[in-house]
Symmetry: C2
């Protein structure tokens, strides 16, 4: 079992594609080929990026026949995304820097 560092945590989150994948998995678990179809990205590219996400325990895998079903680690990801969204919105909306 790998032990993710602070930096690896954020580095892994700092890729557009990886965040897109996480957003997708927010809806429901799905196999690799479904992710590639929806995001229109190459399979190996997606697999490499899934590996990064998995190394950080942002996602989990389960075998189902030939497929591998990836699912989100909601315990960490949901509060994280909420926190970031709050911060981003705060500094994008007028209300927040009018005070």
């Amino acid at each position: 079992m790998k032990c993710p560092s602070y930096n690896l945590f954020f580095e892994t989150m700092s890729s557009k594609l990886r965040v897109k994948i996480l957003d997708l998995l927010m809806k429901k678990p799905m196999p690799v080929n479904e992710i590639t179809k929806i995001l229109k990205e190459e399979q190996s590219k997606v697999s490499h990026n899934l590996k990064r996400l998995h190394d950080c325990h942002f996602i989990e895998v389960e075998r189902k026949g030939k497929e591998r079903i990836y699912s989100l680690n909601k315990k960490t990801m949901v509060p994280l995304m909420k926190l970031v969204e709050k911060h981003v919105q705060c500094y994008c909306k007028k209300e927040c820097y009018k005070k």
Copy 2:
């Protein structure tokens, strides 16, 4: 006023030096030359990285004579760090994957 994106948020957090700077500012606000001395890093390097942190509103500045005092945006940074720490610890300690 710049509006940080999700990716910029995480990208900015994904640098060892920048996280070190944030950790320092967690203790107290300080000017650039104090940061450079403590971290033993070049001034311009520190300044470039402070800019990134500031663009994302992770830190704030205040002028004081020739110096510029940087301080942490604790509102976002404290809960963020706690969240990450929790996640990292969970996947580093035995208890968490024994279940």
